[in-house]
């Protein structure tokens, strides 16, 4: 016998049938029928946030750590609009997410009703797709389609707008969850074109100065293993984008570090001088290419991407391959294994290429022992903090970040070992992302060490979630690189605006962080010297505090800049390497 359920109950039941364990949300008038349906069941746990933006970042962190879609539930009007920043964040980084926004009842839509806003219209440019529920019977089918679209092809956020009348508890319908989805207009590529993969492989075997450039598509596509195989079979140098870090082990000698605006000298120089670039799941973002006119002038470009619209959007691909990273790279491994006996790699050229790269690395590579460095003012350096956290967590923590200098220092100095370990807002660059994202990760991975590397500017954008952390006992470790300024803005003002710090400082108006954190019921330490740092970091990650949220307020040198840095309008090898040295 089929069950009879109301629209609100069908919605929650459909989430159960999708295997959803946790949703992140905030109730309100239009959502109350749905919340009542949540109350009456046990299988889907609802996490009550303090602001809807945080709910979306939590769902986002959850999705990035697990590969499963994050689910958000918000009410109409301000609930929906508060969620928008998180939807845009997920859209830019291709993160699977389902945002269920309640809506005013159908009969008042368009009348400027209380808490009414056109969520479908507002979210249109930043969703992969959206649905508005016309009648309750459509709910199971819409949920099924939403999950299918969010998680297949190039993943992305889906909005389901649910007018209150379609969740009315007094109207019940026969519930049946569909087994399959068929959309005539949506057929994502499931594998790459064999001929193109073979063509790419042949080009790779003929290359003399090759570089593998991989991005978030490898992480999202779970293709780390295949990427490592291609790198091992060929011996090619490899660099990752900000979104791609972790897909290749960060401490491996074959790894050149991150490329791009704040990428390593050796990664950017290798890209610029390469004769072949194997781009996998990366989209030639402007933070990677610098001036596209001057980008990699000698290189044959192989571009593997799941989204045809990413290929040749910025840089023309010589050998495009449309498909998910995993099967395409697996096909490439097979093609390489077949071809290598007949067309061995030109090892003399590759060795010479490696010697050039090693020279770049020796000349201007990142200083991996910053402990010995002293800033002019004698203050703690932000890089030292990241290195201390890296050592203490043995490179094994999930690390989320906010946006700014601390994000770049984390990307440069924490050597990630696996995909999904490094979680940050790369595309949209959303300050306030780090803490809620870490909460989503911790909820998905209760036993893992989860570190949020942040700055006081970003942290203050969503710090209300410390209360949520108390409610759900989330033992996140927050590392606040406190330079008492909007560091990256200030750095640009130093470099491009003659040091005129227009609205980038607030030194005398900052809270006493230790007291602030303690008032939320958590632990907090401050550190302003390297010795204090060592003690505090050791204590933070000690077994005694394993189950506690701990905040490290590290006072760091406010004048430190992130280097290397692109010279605007230049090629990849045009970089500023330190203050006054380009």
């Amino acid at each position: 016998m089929t069950e009879m359920l109301s629209g609100g109950e069908m919605l929650i039941r459909a989430l159960q049938d999708e295997g959803v364990e946790q949703i992140f949300g905030y109730p309100g008038g239009a959502a109350l029928h749905i919340y009542d349906a949540i109350f009456k069941q046990q299988r889907v746990e609802h996490i009550l946030v303090r602001h809807e933006q945080a709910a979306t970042h939590m769902a986002d962190g959850y999705a990035r750590a697990t590969g499963r879609p994050g689910v958000v539930l918000v009410t109409s009007g301000p609930g929906a609009t508060n969620a928008i920043t998180g939807v845009a964040t997920a859209y830019m980084d291709s993160i699977p997410m389902i945002v269920i926004s309640a809506q005013v009842p159908h009969d008042v839509i368009g009348t400027d009703a209380f808490q009414e806003t056109d969520m479908i219209g507002i979210s249109r440019p930043i969703v992969k797709h959206s649905f508005i529920v016309k009648k309750a019977e459509d709910i199971p089918g819409i949920v099924k389609q939403a999950f299918y679209i969010a998680t297949t092809g190039r993943p992305g956020p889906i909005v389901i707008d649910v007018p209150k009348d379609t969740t009315d508890p007094n109207e019940q319908f026969a519930y049946e969850y569909p087994d399959t989805v068929s959309l005539r207009s949506y057929k994502p590529a499931l594998k790459g074109h064999f001929g193109q993969i073979r063509k790419a492989t042949i080009a790779m075997l003929q290359a003399r100065r090759p570089v593998i450039y991989s991005g978030g598509g490898v992480v999202q596509g779970g293709a780390d293993e295949e990427l490592v195989k291609v790198a091992r079979l060929t011996g090619f140098p490899i660099t990752n984008t900000l979104m791609g870090l972790g897909a290749f082990p960060g401490d491996d000698p074959q790894f050149l570090g991150m490329l791009g605006m704040h990428g390593t000298y050796e990664a950017n120089c290798a890209m610029h001088h390469a004769d072949l670039i194997l781009a996998v799941g990366a989209r030639f973002d402007d933070r990677v290419t610098n001036n596209p006119e001057k980008f990699c002038p000698d290189a044959t470009i192989i571009h593997i991407d799941i989204d045809p619209a990413s290929i040749s959007k910025v840089i023309a691909a010589d050998i495009p391959i449309v498909g998910p990273a995993k099967p395409v790279l697996q096909g490439m491994v097979e093609a390489l294994e077949a071809e290598l006996p007949n067309h061995p790699i030109d090892s003399a050229s590759l060795n010479a290429w490696w010697r050039r790269i090693e020279r770049w690395r020796e000349q201007h590579g990142l200083n991996h022992d910053q402990r010995e460095r002293r800033s002019e003012s004698g203050e703690l350096l932000p890089q030292q903090v990241i290195q201390a956290v890296y050592r203490e967590t043995e490179g094994d923590a999930y690390v989320t970040s906010d946006v700014g200098q601390h994000q770049m220092f984390a990307a440069q100095y924490y050597k990630f070992q696996r995909g999904r370990q490094w979680i940050n807002s790369g595309g949209l660059g959303t300050m306030g992302f780090g803490l809620p994202a870490a909460m989503g990760v911790q909820l998905a991975r209760p036993d893992a060490t989860v570190v949020c590397i942040t700055g006081e500017g970003s942290f203050m954008m969503n710090m209300q979630e410390l209360s949520t952390c108390m409610q759900y006992a989330l033992p996140i470790k927050i590392v606040n690189l406190n330079n008492q300024a909007l560091g990256m803005v200030k750095q640009w003002q130093d470099m491009q605006y003659g040091g005129r710090y227009s609205h980038s400082t607030y030194r005398d108006a900052l809270p006493e962080f230790d007291q602030l954190i303690r008032s939320f019921g958590h632990h907090s330490f401050s550190a302003s010297s390297i010795d204090e740092l060592d003690t505090v970091v050791a204590e933070t990650f000690s077994p005694a505090l394993k189950n506690k949220l701990v905040f490290i307020n590290a006072y760091v040198d406010p004048d430190e800049h992130v280097y290397p840095m692109f010279i605007r309008g230049g090629s990849l090898e045009d970089m500023v390497l330190s203050k006054g040295n380009s």
């Binding site: 219209g121 249109r124 797709h129 005539r184 207009s185 045809p308 619209a309 959007k313």
Partner: protein, 165 residues
């Protein structure tokens, strides 16, 4: 910049058209004209969209259109032999002396039809490629034109080839 006429098959659903229009705004592409109506299959709408761009730009536009879930199929009609038609309703001043007869003659030359008559004006219906419509307006002369409404271009490929699912 080349003039491009795209034909798009779209799910005939609420909100689908706004995604297409929104895409052009978001990606900084132009829409010069747009026509849309259901096809013989009521679940599908067909759009004819006039824009401009070089090959690279049109490739991107096409890819982004295809990315929209409700877009079923896209072709660039300007890639091959095709027909274009547009309909114009134009209200023309007919005051004084022989002016009324002259307007009527011009209208016949262009195979237009007078669809409404008033003491001092004619309303003329005229169909054809955009060029013909513009030529008619030039022939009538700016000072005689009172009001113009055009549908925008509809396009179809020539020959047996059919644009379908």
């Amino acid at each position: 910049m080349m003039r491009r006429l795209l034909a798009i098959l779209l799910e005939n659903e609420a909100g689908a058209l706004s995604r297409v229009v929104g895409l052009f705004a978001q990606r900084n592409y132009n829409i010069d004209s747009l026509t849309v109506a259901p096809t013989e299959d009521p679940t599908l709408s067909r759009l004819t969209l006039l824009t401009e761009g070089d090959d690279k730009k049109i490739e991107q536009v096409t890819k982004h259109l295809n990315r929209l879930i409700e877009v079923v199929k896209v072709i660039d009609l300007t890639d091959g032999a095709h027909l274009e038609r547009e309909l114009m309703l134009i209200k023309v001043r007919t005051e004084g002396g022989g002016h009324r007869e002259e307007i009527y003659r011009t209208c016949r030359i262009f195979r237009g039809t007078v669809v409404d008559v008033a003491p001092d004006s004619y309303t003329v219906q005229i169909t054809g490629p955009t060029e013909k419509l513009l030529a008619f307006m030039r022939a009538i002369g700016e000072t005689s034109i009172l009001e113009v409404v055009r549908t925008g271009v509809s396009g179809i490929g020539r020959g047996d080839k059919i644009f379908e699912l």
